[in-house]
Amino acid sequence: MVEFALHNAWLVPLLPALAFVIIIFLTKPWPALSGLVSVGGMLTSCFFASLAAYGVFTNHKYAEEPLVYATRWFSAGDLKIDVGIQLDPTSAMMIFMVTLVSSLIFIYATGYMKGDPGYSVFFSYLALFGSSMLLLVLSSNLLQMFVAWELVGLCSYLLIGFYTHKISAREAAKKAFVTCRVADFGLLLGILSLQIVFGTLNLTELAEKINNFDQYTTMGMMTLMAVLVFIGPIGKSGQFPLHVWLPDAMEGPTPVSALIHAATMVVAGVYLVGRMMFLFHEVPSAMELVAITGAFTALFAASIAITQREIKRILAYSTVSQLGYMMLALGVGSLTASMFHLWTHAFFKALMFLGAGSVLHALHDKADVWKMGGLIKKMPITGYTFMIGCLAIAGIPPFAGFWSKDEILLAAFDNGNYVLFTMAAITAFMTAFYMWRLFFLAFMGEEKAENHPHESPWNMTLPLVVLAFFATVGGLVGTPWAPVWGEWIFFGHPHHVEPNYLIMVGSVVLGMAGIYLAYTLYLADKEKARAHALAKQYRFLHNLSFNKFYIDEIYLWFNHSIVDGAARLFYLFDIYVVDGILINGIAAFTRLSGEGLRVAQTGRLQNYALVFFLGVLALAVVLAFTDPATAFGLMTGGAK
């Protein structure tokens, strides 16, 4: 059975895809059935994924050499593209995590979406989304990965814009797609150059060839390719400066936000960079770029998150920030730490998003945390699981986030880049602060009279509990004392780090400090007077942060003024120059020359006779003064 799962891992993405097809063509009129098909498909897929993961993690040879099986997809001349499955511990971990989290989110969605007119369609999209992500994870070929990558983008488009009647949803979906498209442009260029330089896109072959790349290309070209490839993840994983779509993506139904932010989509970028480590590893400057981008994004997003008011928006920026962490880990060369954080983050972020969904469900989509309060009393399961999530993300041991974050800090520290390390540390503090600010504001404190919260049904709380469990213990697979994780998921050689107690204690202290600060400002202080005073005192900084550093406005301006302006310019050029001057010009010339020559038609016989005789004269002159043979030649155009 395990062998079967190992060698037929294509079933993992196929089953949800099948669910998509079944729902679209068969069960669309019966919502309950559609939900069942979708959840069933994902659960079966989860079952196979678990088996495959079990198979991989019980046989250490897969950590050295991945299990690859592929078939030719198409070929055009020298361009030969395969599709296939590449199973190694990294992808095995991913499919397990993705199918597990997705299954839970699907179950949650059966409760959350109840009664929605688009219930069936929603579940078909979800299934397709999961399927695309799994395909991406298992891809053995970069182009195949790109295909899945784009399909993930499509599904996110469909799901973010699921409430089609809402203009904000429509715009957010468009923004997500177009932003990712910009990034994909870079990625596509990167893939193209890889194909052209190395003549293959199969990951294993690429890895081999890049190992001794000097046979094929220069360092400059390698840097270029690495940077181009990295542009894709910048977009997909919401790194600065293309992070703008991610916070808006919460316009979709909450399960979608959870799916996008936790298990699928955004981690695709991190995963891709991880997959392409063999490329980045050869190019130190690209690695540096990855690390700097990651660290900056982490800090930047955290600084926005501390002033946001909408619950999902805070979570969204925290996602951006955490993704920055993962990138930072990759940039300092630790695939292990990055994947570890990806793993733990998936659980606690899914948990928090679903918790937020539960809150919104209860409060009828009232999203402002300032208008909530004391929810934990009426919604104990949601509240306590959410607290576990907050503990995890704040880096409090023994919760999952602590271990992975610690690993990243350690990796940054070991790398010797102390600026990046400091940035990461500050981010850790801020993360604890804003998450607990959210928690205190929404769940603790006084209840608001106008709210009538109630606990959500079982199919929404069950996933919360399961996720809370994983958010609690998920990090134990990679403690510094028992580095199981690093034994399996690594780049180059197994990753062993000596526990650094200073950093460990330091990060706990930072997390506690953040929580304490949030406590004093938002819970102990009933009137929140000091928080308001601080906001007033640093009005400029507050506004900057609250308005997300005006990046959206800049893009909007760019899009509306520059792109649309150029479009209008081109169009006017087309109408007035190409069409107006060139095309209609030729037409007008024809017409005008007709008009002009018309005047020659005077209607007076004697005019005609005059011209006629002029012609006769000319002809006579030609005939009189040239040799007869030449004259004949002239008149017949050279024909013999």
Binding site: E171, A173, K174
Partner: protein, 505 residues
């Protein structure tokens, strides 16, 4: 092959349908449409059979029918298919069949409409399977007249009147064919000089082309480039395309954007490139530059549009820019991509135009600001629209992605930075397509469209047929690419052959 003249049968099925229609009373609209559907379906079925029974391992010309016709000019009824003409033939029939159903609601003089339409389809098919230059031109001219009449009578006037649109379309086509004719006649005269006897068949002319001097090849290719270029709406000879499509009735837009345009690319590859490889080599950078210019320029142009048909019109110019870029890259991968992209874009454009046609039929507007929220009222139409839109922006998993990727590989290898500008077009494409889709389909539904009926019955056929091709072709690109590759590699082998000789000379 086995005696039955499949290609002639494919060609004559619509003609037979048209002949039957002549004898049907004019008010029997349903019957006429059914006959049109049957006629195109027979062609479609036969061409599917031919497509799948073509032996790719052998390659070359198959299903050959050759009957001498005008001996003094070396003209013969030479019908055959290879890996390049087959996808185009199939495309024509797919779109022809779908277009009949997209015109199911034509009630103004249906008999004349469908007779002309059958002739149009026949003409287009003929250009793709004729392997005699004279017959090729003959079929090409057959195409022009029905289009003109159909635009003038059944078209619609928006920014420009339908008369203007029809005139523009026709004159462009004729100018293109004028360039072409000069080139063809010159080529023919030269070939007579080389071979010593007249022969208009592609095979003979390709052989004769080997001995053409480099200078002759250059100017002949130049003529054909501008002839075929204005057909494929090569920048800056593109401006007929948006206006023409906007004015034309749905079926004509479908056929025109879907396949007729492709005659330009097909001719460039199968005629100009094969006959004048040295000329092609000389002109390749020009084609690439014009291609990239077309991609970017038309993408920006599309971004500024508010009329759905104009958007698709400009977008098709933009996509044809990719084809030009691919031919300009002058390598096997590029040629593969060019042909495949023509196929993919054909299916996509046809689906797009049929969808827009239905939207227009139902809402009586194509003006985007007047629309919104149609996804709620007409979900199937929205599916068709989104499918076409996604294909237009080259979503992987649909038939348009792999060809574009192939083109990028082919072009990037040769042109580097220039290709990057072209590839950047995918961002703009996403922008305008999504904007159009979002503003038409999504957002708050409008009350005035609450009564709209979604597409149903025969109206579903374009969506089903073309949508299936979009998805199947996207998931199994080898179905398309193996075929094209079998044709393209012969062509490029021939080209390489000639270039070698040319190098020696």
């Amino acid at each position: 092959m086995d005696g039955f003249p499949f290609l002639t049968a494919i060609l004559l099925a619509p003609v037979a349908a048209a002949l039957i229609m002549v004898f049907i009373p004019r008010d029997e609209g349903k019957l006429i449409k059914c006959i049109a559907a049957i006629g195109t379906f027979v062609s479609l079925a036969l061409s599917l059979y031919v497509y799948f029974s073509y032996d790719q391992s052998v390659g070359g010309l198959q299903f050959v029918e050759r009957i001498p016709w005008i001996r003094d000019l070396g003209v013969s009824w030479f019908m055959a298919v290879d890996g390049i003409s087959l996808p185009m033939l199939l495309l024509t029939n797919l779109i022809g069949f779908a277009a009949v159903f997209a015109s199911w609601n034509v009630n103004n003089r249906p008999r004349e409409f469908f007779i002309l339409f059958m002739l149009l389809v026949t003409g287009v098919m003929g250009t793709f399977i004729a392997h005699d230059l004279f017959i090729f031109l003959l079929f090409y001219e057959v195409v022009v007249i029905p289009i003109y009449i159909m635009v003038i009578i059944w078209g619609s006037s928006k920014r420009v009147t339908k008369e203007y649109a029809g005139m523009k379309l026709t004159i462009y086509l004729l100018i293109g064919s004028a360039f072409l004719l000069v080139g063809v006649i010159a080529m023919f005269m030269k070939s007579v000089g080389i071979m010593g006897h007249p022969d208009m068949s592609f095979t003979a002319l390709a052989e004769a082309g080997k001995q053409l001097s480099a200078f002759d090849q250059k100017w002949l290719f130049g003529l054909m480039l501008f002839g075929f270029g204005s057909l494929i709406s090569m920048w800056p000879f593109h401006s007929w395309s948006p206006d023409g499509y906007a004015g034309a009735p749905t079926a004509v837009s479908m056929i025109h954007a879907g396949v007729l345009k492709k005659i330009g690319g097909y001719g460039l590859i199968k005629i100009a490139l094969v006959f004048m490889p040295l000329g092609a080599q000389f002109w390749a950078p020009v084609m690439a530059v014009l291609g990239v210019a077309g991609v970017t320029y038309a993408a920006f142009g599309a971004l500024a549009q508010k009329d759905l048909k104009y958007i698709v019109g400009y977008s098709s110019v933009s996509h044809m820019g990719y084809v030009m870029l691919a031919i300009g890259s002058f390598n096997l991968i590029g040629i593969n991509g060019a042909v495949a992209n023509m196929f993919g874009h054909g299916v996509m454009a046809a689906l797009f135009f049929s969808t827009i046609g239905f939207i227009y039929e139902k809402t009586h507007t194509r003006w985007i600001p007047d629309m919104g929220g149609l996804a709620r009222q007409t979900p199937r139409l929205a599916v068709a629209f989104m499918l076409a839109a996604m294909a237009s922006l080259g979503l992987p998993g649909l038939v348009t992605f792999i060809p574009e990727f192939t083109i990028f590989v082919g072009a990037f290898e040769v042109y580097g930075g220039l290709a990057v500008i072209g590839i950047a077009g995918i961002i703009l494409t996403a922008l305008y397509v999504l904007r159009a889709g979002a503003n038409t389909l999504f957002g708050p539904p409008r009350d005035e469209y609450n009564h709209l009926e979604d597409i149903h019955g025969p109206e579903m056929v374009p969506l089903v047929v073309l949508g299936t091709v979009l998805v199947v072709g996207g998931l199994m690109p080898s179905l398309l690419f193996d075929m094209i590759n079998s044709g393209a590699k012969d062509i490029m082998a021939h080209v390489a052959d000639v270039l070698k000789i040319g190098g020696v000379l």
